[in-house]
Each structure stands twice: as structure tokens, then as C-alpha cells.
């Protein structure tokens, strides 16, 4: 809301208050000032001065030393850098002590060793537009010593942000009331002529009492519609409104003065009877803004006996029923429209106005008729004419406020004892509440936000200020929640991955449907599993991610475009899906995903690093899940190759795969893209497992190597299984240490591979004899031959 400081000053004494002080005062009362725009200069100490002499400054080429007549009887010496004047010109002169719009206060000073007792000003320095580069040359020969503010209207425009609970502040009088309370001044009341009323039900039919509990109409005939007088135009222009004609301007003026929207109809353009009703389904409305609206059933309209829609109640008047230059008789509407209905209609038609803005927040019921009286007073004064009969009213004004009890003990508790009861009561009194009993407060009608004890406390705390409240810190022990524990594990995991060269990505959880081809959820998606928002902002953010992988691929793609070759990313966070084709709805679970592609180390002058393979991905997983018996079991996934289920012991951790080569090429990836997505809760379970230390071996062990020839296609996992089947109790562990194939077939049949294992044997209670080791090893090898028909080399 725009507020003119000049206008505001008519209702509250702001003398001696700087704009900065007002800004602070309002800010710390909860009324945010979003902008301050100064027009003209307000200080008395900027006056008209005539330049009587100008000589070169002895120590500075660009400066002159002037003697000016500022109407003080003696000449004043001022050093000036401007070039655009001649002796005899009249210019604005800021005397010492003058506060300029920039916030700068002029003092006496020395410039390059020469005394300067003030400043000659340019236009912008006193808040009027610059027309030339240099001093503002005053036209019309004003008398020296005249305050410049008499030549140029000065004002400050405040852009005020009023919170939705305070519609009472949406006018100059409303804000003045608040300021008077904050400044501990008496509130200045407005004397208004009486407004005689009569029951208007014969003229006004109200079929929408819920939407419009109170409606008044005053007929004024014989008005002369013309331009508004200057003072009225100036008021409207000062807050950024465009003057239209005297009648419309008066309704706008009263809205911004008192906060009550009004509307004036041209009496010649409306029927004999007025009709307040809900709109019909197929009705349309031509508004005065030139647009036409297809009304919804139930939108409150002001209509007449001819059935025409004259206005969308509380929001905007119609194109044909408004006041024009030819209007002679008017109907002035002042009403109380129910906020929720105005808001609903305004939002449905994306149509808002100064009027709807106030009605949807709630106007002061007791301000409805005074605003009409105020407008009528101004119309009769400015546009002439006379009231025909009395003001017709239908319905009754809602009573929205009452008596609220202040619980003083709880006030004291909440404020930490920082305010005396008398001071708290004084705040309520200043805000216009009245004491009607012990701790009982009657709330004025314009403050419908004050309904409960706590609402009164808020007022006291707000005006008292939190700076006067002491600070207290009461930290007590709080046991870690499951979420605390999970967060700590997650952070360790992130640090491990960062140390392994992975960058943590955080991507937006709403993704494009076309990204779903890259999804690698723990379980494949079925129809109906996707969670899509009803009204996405764009195609790019239409569904909640069922998997972290699409985000990682997009991240890698972006970095490839920036020239990155070694791609290592991870993300941890929520994924979303319905489950079983939508049977279990809105499941949110947590995943961790890794993407690995390209050189496993950054390039350097040393040997070129290897390109990442599935075994590097496995190495990364093994590094973050130390000791976990990871197993990859191939299982096909659409959109991917070499897909495997990833298990750790008896826990299904997730899925790993390589992106389809065709998709890799499509996205310009130079190397295979390896991906894994794991169930984060299961990963945490492993990381958070209870550890029991194993005794260190007391006796030495002994190892045996065995290289075997097997079919090239035999998965190593089969060998692992066969070894396990041997059940050899002395076998502590074993590892594969070589895989050999010969594509030429010279040293080894191309259909075969040689795979070598090292087997470690040990007993916990003795040093094994060679014969014992040999026997154990033989048993393992025999099992391998039996299970897999391997041939030892």
C-alpha cells in the first residue's frame, strides 16, 4: 500500500520525525516499509538564494567560491563545483542544518582550505527531477530566502507492507491511528455530518445476505461531473493513482483515507430497483477495466430489476453503469461484503482491485456509514447536487468484536516479567481498547483480529518490543532420536564418498516424465506407481522422482557439457511412489545412488588412469560398506545393461547397472556410465550395526594357490558358491587374484578362462601341520571339480 507522508500528517502529528525514525517506528511495530521515495525537499533550511559573485577557488581548478544572498541580510560564502550558472541566477541553497532527501545533513565546512557555509543544490539533491547538469536554476524570480518547499511540492511516499491480520491499517486514517498510539499521541477524530438512514428494502432486494450482510445506497442528484480540484488530484497522484473525475476521485480518496471502498453508479444507467444476488451459471460481466468475465454461479453481483449485472460486488464496477461526464444523478454504494466470498470471486477471476483487497481482508463494520457520510460531504462540496431522501440501508452490520479477557498471569509468564501490568494496559488503551471490567477489554470494531487473550498479548509484545524482553537459555539433555542416529550415519557416508572422489548432488525432486527412462528404482515401476502433481509448473517438473538416478544422470550430463571427464556423483534423499500399481499410496523412502563413469582418477602427467568398470563401482560400494558381503546377482532391467541385484548377506540392498550404450551415446557420455541405487535404510542398518571385536589369531595360517580352467562364461559367483559348499572348516577366507583369457586362442582356448584363487587355512587352537593343510586344500579342490568340472592348471 502506498502512503503519502503529507496526507498522513493531516491526521497525526509527525513534526520533527525523520523518515528514518518513522521507518523504525513502523518496522518495530510489525509494519514493514518496503520502499521510501522522496519527492521534493521538506526542510525549511533549503531556501532561494541569488548568486552575487563567483570567483575561482585558489586551490582547485574545478571549484568556484561564491557569495550568495539567501535573504539573511549578509552574504554567505559557499564553495561550488557546478558550471551551469551565471552571477545573478537564483538557485536552491541548503543552509547549515538542512536535511536533504538523501539523508545528508548540511554543515559548515572547509573545502580545499576555503570556508563553505552551505551548499548550492541541483534538482536531484532536493528531490525534484534534474533538467540540466548542475544547479537547479529557479525560474519566475522567487524572493531570496523563500523556503524552496514553497516552490516545489515535497512529499515522501512510503510503500507499506501490511500483514493480512491488520486490514485496519489499509488507509491513511488507519495508519495514523496506529502511529498516534505508538507515539503516545491523542487520536484525531474526524467530524462528520449526520447521515440519516431509512429501511431500503423496497428499493434494494437482498437475496445474498450471507455474502452481503449490510448494504447502503444514497442518491445524490444534480451533481456536476468534472475534473477534481487540485488538492484532491494531488492526494491521489501522491499515492500513484490517476485522477478520473470528481465523483470517482472522491470514492477513491475516501477508500484511501478511511479504508472503506465505495462505489458510485450513474443513476440513469440502472433500473428502478437494485438486486443483490448470486450470479447465474451463464452470466457474464463487462467490467470497467474493459474485460469481460464469465461469472461463476454464486459470485455476488449487484444487479437491478432489468437483470443487468452492474457490479461484481466489492471488486469492480461495470463498464456501463459508472459515472461519466454526462452523469447528473448518482447512487453511492457503501456496504459490508463478506471477506471469504470476495476473496473467492476475486481469485477465481484473477481480478483484484484496491476495493477487493480491503473487502477480502475485512473492513471495519462501523466504518461503512461514516465513509458514506464522508464521501457525501465531499461530493456536495465539490460536485454540488443534493441528497434525495435518506440513505437506504438493508441488513445489519456484523458485530465482529467483543470483550476479551487479558490473563495477566499468563501475560507475565509469556513476557518473562518484562512489562508492568500498568504499562501493558496503557498499550491497550492507546490502541483504542477500553477497559470494561477487571482485565476485561472491549475491542474496537476495526480490530477484528483481537479475539482472544493471546491476541491482546501480541499487541502488548509488539508495541513493547522484544528488545526489552530478557534472553533466557534453557538447554537440557535430549536423547538422540532415530532420526538423529540416521543423520549421523548419513553424514559419515557423505564424508566417505567425498573422500572417494564423489561429489554430492542435490537435485530437484520433481522431474520430467521423459527422465523416467533413466529411473532405476529398487523395484521396477508398475503402471500407477508414479506420483504426479496435478498442475505442474512445467513439463520439466511434473512427477516426483521414483529414483535418484535420473537426477544424477542429468547432473553428469550437465557436467559433461562443461568438459568434465571423470564423473563421480552421489545423491541421498527421498524417492516417491505408489506401490503395486497405486495400491499403497504415497510411499516415501530414502535412497542413495552413485554414478561413476570415465577415468577413475583425474588426468595428470603420470600414466593415464583406467576407465571405470563395474568393478570400480563395486569397489566404491565395498569402501562405503566395509566388511559387508556384497553380492551382485544379474537380473535384467529395462533401459539398462548388466543390471544386477545388490545384496549384502541376507539384505536386498538395491540395484546396480550400466546405462544402455545407446542412451550413453544419446547423452554424449564418452565412457560407460555405472549406476547403483540402494535402499538407504538398509545401508544405515549395516553402518549402524553393533560391532563385536574378533580375537586376533594366535597361531599362524598357511595358504595355497590354485589356478583353474573354466568356461569363459562361468560367473565367479558360481566358484564362490562351490567353495562354500566344500564347508571346509579350516578355510578362513579366499580371494581371486588373477583372471587370464587369451583372445588369440594360442595359450588358452578362447572359450575358456583361467581363474586363480588363493586359499587361506588356519586353525584357532594350533599351528596346522603341512599335511593337514594339504588335506583341507585337496577337499576344497575336489569339491570344485565335482561341482563345476574345473580343470586345475
Amino acid at each position: 500500500m502506498n502512503v503519502s507522508l503529507n496526507w498522513l500528517s493531516e491526521y497525526v502529528d509527525l513534526a520533527g520525525k525523520s523518515v528514518q525514525e518513522l521507518d523504525d517506528l513502523l518496522t518495530f511495530a510489525g509494519i514493514e516499509i518496503e520502499g521510501i521515495h522522496t519527492k521534493g525537499v521538506s526542510s525549511d533550511k533549503v531556501v532561494v538564494a541569488q548568486i552575487m559573485e563567483a570567483v575561482q577557488h585558489p586551490n582547485a581548478d574545478r571549484l568556484k567560491v561564491t557569495q550568495v544572498d539567501a535573504g539573511e541580510g549578509t552574504l554567505r560564502q559557499i564553495v561550488c563545483g557546478a558550471q551551469n550558472y551565471k552571477v545573478g541566477d537564483k538557485v536552491p541553497c541548503a543552509l547549515p542544518g538542512a536535511a536533504l532527501p538523501s539523508g545528508f545533513t548540511i554543515g559548515e565546512t572547509k573545502m580545499r582550505g576555503v570556508e563553505s557555509k552551505g551548499m548550492l543544490c541541483s534538482g536531484s539533491e532536493i528531490g525534484v527531477p534534474d533538467q540540466v547538469n548542475g544547479l537547479l536554476l529557479l525560474q519566475g524570480d522567487p524572493a531570496v530566502g523563500t523556503p524552496v518547499k514553497q516552490l516545489f511540492a515535497s512529499d515522501v511516499l512510503l510503500e507499506v507492507e501490511v500483514t493480512p491480520n491488520r486490514p485496519d491499517l489499509l488507509s491513511h486514517r488507519g495508519l495514523a491511528y496506529e502511529l498516534a498510539a505508538l507515539l503516545e499521541q491523542e487520536h484525531q477524530t474526524l467530524e462528520l455530518p449526520a447521515l440519516p438512514t431509512r429501511c431500503g428494502s423496497e428499493w434494494i432486494e437482498n437475496d445474498a445476505e450471507e455474502a452481503c450482510p449490510f448494504y447502503s445506497l444514497t442518491k445524490i442528484s444534480g451533481v456536476t461531473v468534472q475534473d477534481s480540484p487540485d488538492w484532491l488530484k494531488e492526494r491521489l497522484v501522491s499515492i500513484g493513482l490517476r485522477p478520473i473525475n470528481n465523483i470517482v476521485d472522491i470514492t477513491n480518496f475516501v477508500l484511501h483515507e478511511m479504508g472503506q471502498p465505495l462505489h458510485a453508479f450513474d443513476a440513469a444507467q440502472v433500473g428502478v430497483r437494485m438486486h443483490l444476488r448470486g450470479a447465474k451459471a451463464d452470466e457474464s460481466f463487462a467490467a470497467l477495466n474493459g474485460s469481460s468475465y464469465a461469472l461463476r454461479e454464486g459470485d455476488l453481483v449487484i444487479s437491478d430489476d432489468r437483470g443487468e449485472v452492474l457490479a461484481l460486488a466489492g471488486i469492480m464496477g461495470g463498464a456501463t453503469s459508472g459515472v461519466t461526464a454526462t452523469t447528473t444523478d448518482i447512487l453511492l454504494e457503501s456496504a459490508y461484503f463478506t471477506p471469504t466470498l470476495v476473496r473467492s470471486t476475486s481469485r477465481a477471476h484473477l481480478l483484484s482491485s484496491d476495493s477487493s483487497y480491503r473487502f477480502e481482508r475485512g473492513v471495519d463494520p462501523e466504518g461503512v456509514l461514516p465513509a458514506a457520510a464522508r464521501a457525501i460531504q465531499l461530493i456536495l462540496e465539490i460536485a454540488g447536487g443534493q441528497i434525495e431522501g435518506e440513505t437506504a440501508v438493508v441488513g445489519s452490520l456484523p458485530v465482529l468484536t467483543g470483550v476479551v479477557e487479558l490473563d495477566t498471569a499468563r501475560l507475565d509468564q509469556l513476557m518473562g516479567g518484562s512489562i508492568e501490568l500498568a504499562a501493558a494496559e496503557n498499550i491497550l488503551l492507546r490502541l483504542g481498547l477500553s477497559a470494561v471490567g477487571e482485565n476485561l477489554w472491549r475491542v474496537p470494531s476495526r480490530r477484528a483480529d483481537l479475539q482472544r487473550h493471546i491476541d491482546l498479548v501480541e499487541e502488548i509484545a509488539r508495541v513493547h518490543g522484544l528488545d526489552k524482553v530478557p534472553s533466557r537459555m534453557r538447554a537440557t539433555f535430549v536423547p538422540a532420536s532415530d532420526i538423529d542416529a540416521a543423520a549421523d550415519l548419513d553424514m559419515n557416508l557423505r564424508r566417505s564418498l567425498a573422500a572417494l572422489g564423489f561429489f554430492e548432488a542435490q537435485t530437484i525432486k520433481l522431474i520430467a516424465e521423459k527422465q523416467l527412462v533413466d529411473a532405476l528404482p529398487l523395484r521396477p515401476l508398475q503402471n500407477g506407481d508414479l506420483v504426479a502433481v496435478s498442475l505442474p509448473l512445467s513439463e520439466d517438473h511434473a512427477v516426483l522422482r521414483p529414483s535418484l538416478v535420473p537426477g544424477l544422470i542429468a547432473t553428469a550430463e550437465r557436467n559433461v557439457r562443461q568438459g568434465l571427464k571423470s564423473l563421480r556423483f552421489f545423491e541421498m534423499g527421498r524417492v516417491f511412489r505408489h506401490n503395486g500399481g497405486g495400491k499403497a499410496r504415497d510411499l516415501e523412502s530414502e535412497s542413495i545412488a552413485l554414478l561413476l563413469s570415465g577415468p577413475v582418477a583425474p588426468e595428470s602427467w603420470s600414466a593415464a588412469p583406467a576407465v571405470a568398470t563395474v568393478h570400480d563401482l563395486k569397489a566404491a560400494l565395498q569402501a562405503i560398506l566395509p566388511g559387508c558381503p556384497l553380492q551382485f546377482t544379474p537380473r535384467e532391467r529395462e533401459g539398462f545393461v548388466l543390471a544386477c541385484d545388490v545384496t549384502g548377506g541376507d539384505s536386498n540392498l538395491g540395484v546396480a547397472a550400466r546405462l544402455r550404450p545407446a542412451r550413453e551415446r544419446e547423452l554424449d557420455f564418452a565412457h560407460p556410465v555405472w549406476l547403483v541405487e540402494l535402499d538407504l535404510t538398509k545401508v544405515r542398518k549395516w553402518l549402524g550395526r553393533r560391532r563385536v571385536v574378533e580375537e586376533l589369531p594366535q597361531f599362524p595360517g598357511s595358504s595355497r594357490d590354485a589356478a583353474m580352467e573354466v568356461a569363459a562364461s562361468l560367473p565367479a559367483a558360481e566358484i564362490d558358491k562351490a567353495i562354500a559348499k566344500a564347508g571346509q572348516s579350516l578355510l578362513q577366507h579366499f580371494e581371486c587374484f588373477d583372471v587370464f583369457t587369451d583372445p588369440t586362442g594360442q595359450k588358452l582356448d578362447v572359450a575358456k578362462k583361467s581363474i586363480a584363487y588363493r586359499f587361506h587355512y588356519r586353525a584357532s587352537d594350533r599351528t596346522l601341520k603341512n599335511e593337514e593343510v594339504d588335506a583341507a586344500h585337496k577337499q576344497v579342490l575336489e569339491t570344485l571339480v565335482k561341482e563345476l568340472a574345473v580343470v586345475f592348471r
Partner: protein
């Protein structure tokens, strides 16, 4: 015999001294101390030495062996030293590092950890709730009127089911109060969603940090003391903090908090960092109804709540000008947080 010993000793010492490399040194050793070496052969002759001379000859043989062995060891050390030095030739320590892969944790994570860490030290436990919320937890229970502007398909992401993506993490307050009886002191970092077009200062999905403290005597001094301590820990012990009265449907009284940001070379300015307030009794009443008990009877408990935007804090903390850097995951950006 004596002369022979001395001759063998001298020859051996000369051969050792002359040996240019490890191989010739080994040859020299074998020729003297090997099975058929000259000193070995002489030692074998001891059996023919008359008993009267045995002592003297034996001593001579021993001292020759000691001298030769010492010379061999010394020469071997010398040769090793030369070889060690030769092995260093060509190593240029001024060449740049051979690279190790180095990653980084995302700045939003770092910031969240820091903020949450401070709060946990003050006795706040971590909490969480669903991102797909219902109107009750996101709006109704938080005292948000039915026709509040946020409850609109234009500003909030709804699903056909009527559920929505939470517009703030404040819904976690309700979830936690439903689950746990007071006293309750929690902090909930998480994602929130609003239908804002993405630009340099807006994201449609962003992160908030929520806090809630409910007990029998929580007051404005607690709110003030806790948040001052938090912000000074976050922004520096000397940071000026101010509370401006504001309006939120779910707290009363409500405040916005500014910190005075002092950046070298810039005029200090107040920057809004958080919203806070005393939990509105209507929120407690809604929780009581949902719990079907009076554990959160607004006549008995009070509390404060606060919330802040993590992206905003990150932007202030690191001078990030465009919020989109935080979602683009460009390694050139992420690397700066390694």
C-alpha cells in the same frame, strides 16, 4: 703360513676396495671366503700347523677374516649408498601432484549440518515428516484459514488425491506433537515446495529448517535467548540480531528476525534470516483434537517455533548470488566446498 695369511689379507682388501659394483664385490668375497676361497683354504691348513704355532696362526687367521668381513660390509654399504643416490636421479619433486580423485559434500548439506549441530547442542533432537502431506497437517492444524492464499492450486502443488507437497516444514511440528507428549524440543530440516517459477532467487523446491520447543513454561525470553544464541553461533559471536513483529497464522506473537550483515567493503545491512513466534493456542487445540487427549492443552503448555530458509542462509554465508547454483550441481561450484 704367516706371510701367506698377510698376503691373502692384503690381496683381499685390495680387491674389495677396487670392486666397482656389487657383482665384483661378491666375486671378491667368494674368492677369499667362499668354499674354495683363499682364506678358507688357508684355514683348512690349520690342521697341519704345529701345536706351538696354532695359537698365533689362529689369531692371525681370525683377524684377517674380521678385517676382510668389515671391509666387505663397509664396501657394500658404500655401493648401496651410491645405488640409492643413483635411484633418486630424475625424480623432480617440483612436478605437480599425481591426482587423486577428490569429491565434496554439497554446500546445503554442510550448512544444514552446521545449523542442526548448533541446535542439537542446545538440546533439540532431529525430527522429520512426509513431504506429501495432507491439508490437515500443512494448513488446518497450523491455524491457516480455509481461504488462505497458500491453499490454492496456483501456489501449492496438489495431487489428484487432494494431498499436496508440503509448503513448509511446519507440518513436522504437528506430526511430532501428535507422536510425542511434551516436553518436546525438535528441529526438522527438510524440503518444502511452492509453485514459484525458478529464477535467481526462487526455487519451486527448497529447504527449510524448522524448530519447535514446547513445555510448561516456554516464554518469549526462551525464544529470544535460543534464537540469538543460534544466530550468533551461525554468523559470529558479535552479530547484531533484531526481532521485528510480524504475522504468521500458526504463531502469536510472531516475529521476523534480521541479522546485521557486515561484509568488508560494503555498508552493513540488516538481512532477514528467519521467522518465529510463540505457538498459537489454536495449533495446540488442533493437536489435542488429533491426539484425542489434553497433553497439549493450551492452558497448560506454551511453546515457540521458528523456521528459516537454508538456501538463503547458504547464499548469505558464502556470497552466492544465484540460487540456481545450489541445484545445478556443477562440479566447478561443488569443488569449492571440498
Amino acid at each position: 703360513m704367516k706371510d701367506q695369511i698377510l698376503l691373502v689379507q692384503n690381496d683381499a682388501l685390495a680387491a674389495i676396495a677396487a670392486a666397482p659394483d656389487a657383482r665384483s664385490l661378491e666375486e671378491a668375497r667368494v674368492s677369499v671366503l667362499g668354499k674354495k676361497g683363499s682364506l678358507t683354504v688357508l684355514s683348512a691348513g690349520m690342521k697341519d700347523v704345529p701345536p706351538a704355532e696354532k695359537g698365533e696362526i689362529g689369531q692371525l687367521l681370525n683377524s684377517a677374516r674380521t678385517a676382510i668381513t668389515a671391509a666387505l660390509d663397509a664396501k657394500q654399504a658404500d655401493l648401496q649408498e651410491i645405488a640409492d643416490r643413483a635411484a633418486l636421479v630424475g625424480i623432480d619433486p617440483t612436478l605437480p601432484a599425481r591426482a587423486l580423485p577428490a569429491g565434496a559434500v554439497h554446500p546445503l548439506t554442510l550448512l544444514r549440518e552446521r545449523a542442526v549441530g548448533i541446535l542439537r547442542r542446545m538440546g533439540f533432537a532431529l525430527a522429520d515428516g512426509p513431504e506429501i502431506e495432507d491439508e490437515f497437517h500443512c494448513f488446518d492444524a497450523l491455524n491457516t484459514p480455509a481461504d488462505h492464499p497458500a491453499r490454492n492450486a496456483k501456489d501449492t502443488f496438489y495431487f489428484d488425491s487432494g494431498k499436496l507437497l508440503r509448503t513448509h516444514t511446519s507440518s513436522v511440528q504437528i506430526r511430532m506433537m501428535e507422536k510425542c507428549a511434551p516436553p518436546l524440543r525438535i528441529t526438522a530440516p527438510g524440503t518444502a515446495y511452492r509453485r514459484d517459477e525458478i529464477d535467481s532467487t526462487h526455487l519451486s523446491a527448497f529447504h527449510q529448517l524448522e524448530g519447535l520447543y514446547v513445555d510448561t513454561d516456554v516464554s518469549l525470553p526462551d525464544l529470544k535467548g535460543t534464537l540469538e544464541a543460534f544466530l550468533r553461533e551461525m554468523f559470529g559471536a558479535d552479530t547484531a540480531v533484531r526481532f521485528r513483529p510480524h504475522f504468521f497464522p500458526f504463531t502469536e506473537p510472531s516475529f521476523e528476525i534480521d541479522v546485521k550483515l557486515e561484509v568488508k567493503g560494503q555498508a552493513p545491512r540488516w538481512i532477514e534470516v528467519a521467522g518465529c513466534g510463540m505457538v498459537d493456542p489454536a495449533v495446540f487445540e488442533a493437536v489435542c483434537q488429533s491426539r484425542k487427549d489434553r497433553a497439549y492443552d493450551p492452558e497448560k503448555v506454551t511453546g515457540f517455533a521458528f523456521g528459516m530458509g537454508l538456501e538463503r542462509l547458504a547464499m548469505i554465508q558464502w556470497g552466492i548470488r544465484d540460487i540456481r547454483l545450489l541445484i545445478e550441481n556443477d562440479v566447478r561450484f561443488l569443488r569449492q566446498f571440498a
